[in-house]
Symmetry: C2
Subunit: 195 residues, 2 copies
Amino acid sequence: MARKTGSHSDITGPRVRQAALKLFAQKGYAAVSMRQIATEVGLQAGALYLYTPDKQALLYELMKDHLEELLAAWQLLPDAGDPNERLQQFTRFHILYHLDRPESVFVAYMELRNLTPDNFTRIEALRRSYENELEKILIDGQALGQFRVPDTKLAALAVIAMLTGVNTWYRQGGRLSRVTVADIYWDMVRKAVAA
Amino acid sequence: MARKTGSHSDITGPRVRQAALKLFAQKGYAAVSMRQIATEVGLQAGALYLYTPDKQALLYELMKDHLEELLAAWQLLPDAGDPNERLQQFTRFHILYHLDRPESVFVAYMELRNLTPDNFTRIEALRRSYENELEKILIDGQALGQFRVPDTKLAALAVIAMLTGVNTWYRQGGRLSRVTVADIYWDMVRKAVAA
DNA sequence: CTGGGAAATGAACGATTGTTCAGTTAACCT
DNA sequence: AGGTTAACTGAACAATCGTTCATTTCCCAG
């Protein structure tokens, strides 16, 4: 038997990526076999190679898409002008955006060492440009005397680490809503960089 | 050939764990084979089973030892009394202790999903008790009016995430010394929880 | 000097890995 | 209605996986 009824390339492709994302997040890239991904989609392992050149490309595309979409979503937001407002905007955006995509976030943070050196360099560049978006806010606020941080680069990394940490413990249906969590973290971020 | 000259069990055992730690941190648990670990030590794969019942135990022991030693080292410090002093002590301790053990920290954070359910439960308990050490400080400071955080549990998690984040970017010989980094982070932590 | 046990080898086990490819089937176009 | 081709199967590839075990070697106690 070949070519199941109702099968289409433009449907199967995304399903392959979705299955890979789910399994990579669950068990880790190295622990997931192409056969497991194929089973999740309802295919034989060989069919996956119609949609990806190899396993590595599957991982790289997932991480690249995640970071590019993250940057695009951030840049789509209106400029709030005032650095303090922009920092609040960034804090809330980061938490809510990441809480909506736990699997992508997990893979993008945990599987860096499974990238080939070339792919690692590209992903790192994307991550750095996201960090720079936050640092720009801190630099502007520092210049205006609204913020006072010892080091804008370190402060940016510290804030991002703190915010991304939410993903490690947040569970839907817990005692705090997503917006409440964002409120709480904004309070700490605001004070941490205050003048 | 068997039994190299000068070989001893009490030397080889630690060397096996050391090699496993190095390789797990470098490539990830699932991507490292027992043969790679054996080669690193200068053994055949079969000999590893004189020092560990299986690969899983090797991972579990590394994580368990790391967390137990972390807790022990923290509890060995003299009680500073004042919550603000204790928080500063925790901040500096966490950063310096973790910067001294990048491989253990990496493995303990990245390989949780490769633990069996039983082992995962035990490791999680250790991690939680470390988080509780910080939360105790925050609760005491909150009661004295020194701190004002919206939620002591979340604040503890946020601070730990922020501090542990140092390990992801710090490189020896960089533009900042370890103590300077600790100073910078203490400034941010102090303000983040300030009343 | 010798026997015994600790330490390590090296081969073997079945299972699984990523990837390729010739063959088969079903959907679409004319 | 029939032929084309995209979509998929299923078998095969060599390599590698974690683990076991009979065998060999060396160190040390007596």
